[in-house]
Symmetry: C2
Subunit: 329 residues, 2 copies
């Protein structure tokens, strides 16, 4: 006769349409009761439209009555907010203050390296006026959902993603909004998206130290911040403003990472400094946090991002960055 644990395991194989993550990973399984040969399963209905609920009812009944000794299955839905269903261990913001230093790239690479090591990872794209994440992962199409919540999109390797660009009719559409509206959307991405169970939710912040970063720091329970920068002193100056903001808001900086650190000449293999000598050691001291890695300027990365294939990227640098990130957390 099947146990409650076995029922739960079987539900971990039922993928929710539109999300393509399982009922268990989305934290929709609220209760399992076994009595005699009958199993009663209670599911949360958040972010599920009526058709999806019907489909799940039939699918779950089919899966459970296929288990040893279970003859009858009763499937009920209860209301629960996405906010109470979300069970996220670490929320980490990727910040730089300066634009174009590679926040979105670092967010993507961090997510990728964690997912490869078996962690459940999501990305909340808080850059509402300049969202880059869906493009890098090659994600198009509107997220599923209902009046009670939005399903995140899922990348090829299984990273959950929510970005304003998934909700716009065209990816080039401008979002011409003032701060309060932008703050509201970020809050919605946090509260109304069914993230489910995650080890890490990474937040890709926009440049600057104004509305969006302020809303993220005041609204989300951040475990820490990763600071991204490039070797240019001019960029480093603006990045130090971000460091100061994090410190003022009492959010621990868990590490710093340098992007566009160097460039390997394709002909000679010689390493040159395109944007000046590395600021890595100095930035680590200024931020009071470890240096987690240094990434080169690499035309291959630019191409992978443009083609929506960032998940194909792999390198020695990424591997040791992941080690350092996990150690810092």
């Amino acid at each position: 006769m099947a146990t409650e644990e076995q029922i739960r395991e079987s539900l971990d194989e039922v993928l929710v349409p539109g999300a393509m993550r399982s009922l268990v990973k989305l934290n929709l399984v609220r209760d399992i009761v076994l009595s005699d040969e009958k199993a009663t399963v209670t599911l949360a209905s958040a972010a599920l439209n009526p058709q999806t609920q019907d489909w799940l009812k039939a699918k779950v009944a089919e899966v459970i009555t296929g288990l040893d000794g279970i003859k009858e299955a009763e499937i009920n839905f209860v209301e629960a907010s996405t906010k109470e269903l979300n069970d996220i261990r670490n929320v980490v913001a990727i910040m730089s203050g300066k634009g174009g230093v590679g926040k979105s790239l670092m967010t993507s690479l961090t997510a990728l390296s964690l997912a490869r090591r078996g962690y459940e990872v999501g990305i909340l794209d808080a850059d509402i006026t300049g969202p880059s994440i869906p493009r890098m992962f090659g994600i198009v199409g509107r997220p599923a959902g209902s009046e009670t919540g939005i399903m995140p999109a899922l990348s090829k390797v299984g990273i959950e993603i929510m970005s304003i660009n998934l909700l716009l009719p065209h990816e080039d559409d401008a979002v011409i909004w003032r701060g309060p509206l932008i703050g509201k959307v970020i809050t919605q991405f946090w509260e109304d998206v069914l993230w489910g169970k995650l080890d890490y939710l990474l937040v890709d912040l926009p440049p600057g130290t104004a509305d969006a970063p302020l809303t993220v720091m005041q609204t989300l329970p951040l475990s820490g911040i990763i600071i991204t920068f490039t070797p240019q002193e001019l960029a480093a100056m603006v990045v130090r403003k971000a460091v100061q903001m994090a410190q003022k808001m009492n959010i621990p900086i868990k590490g710093v990472v340098e992007n566009m650190s160097y460039f390997i000449l394709p002909d000679s293999g010689k390493r040159i400094e395109l944007f000046g000598s590395s600021k890595a050691q100095k930035m680590a001291i200024d931020a009071g946090a470890p240096l987690l890695g240094q990434f080169p300027v690499d035309p291959e990365i630019a191409k992978l991002c443009d083609d929506g294939n960032i998940e194909r990227y792999d390198s020695e640098e990424l591997n040791s960055f992941a080690d350092a990130f996990l150690k810092a957390m």
Copy 2:
């Protein structure tokens, strides 16, 4: 006997302390009356503190009584707002939507190339949370001024500059403000700074399409916008949002300029595309505006920016860009 015109010419050689631009260029000369051997000069007192007014009174009297046939000089001050004194022919915003594509660099290079051709140029740094302009020009120290106005800083070649970083105790200090306050500062930079007479005021916009660009487009009488981008398709997508914003706000896009277009390998002189193939032609079509130029990735530029010596930069590209810019305007 000296004419009114000669008096005006002599006043064009009196530099206002703290601004280092002349009384005439700052548009502070309100009236000149000649009767017999007496000249009466009326100056506006905006942005001048009492000591500066006293110094100017003595200096102007000295200069005028040195002219042929003038025995007596009377110098009066009248109140006038900086807003009514400012006489600016063209206000042009440099925009990209995306951060880190080189807006500030393009703003600086445009200013530089126009100043070299004899135009009077100013830069209003509207990037309040990530200001780069003072650093590039090597400008430190607080601007002069009084209760009635702020004097812009002056670069080595004579470009007027106003940036929040000139008003902060330390250049790394974070400006952690929400949109309304940022909008207010930008409006002050427009209304309360004594720009005087300028051919071009260039506005360096922050990334995004939110509060700051919106305030600039709604408050300043823009003649047009220059769109900056890099070859990466990901960046181009975000830049198209900026193009759409300009179009929605009915502000003409005067031209587009590609930065980080290519890189010349130092060993072989071979030209490679670090961030993908040029998007210049496509962007010009999308924006419905001419391509004004293409600039390479150049470690020398990065160094000049970091050292505050951007004004030493010169190149064939910059020269033809200036031609194209003036033609487009």
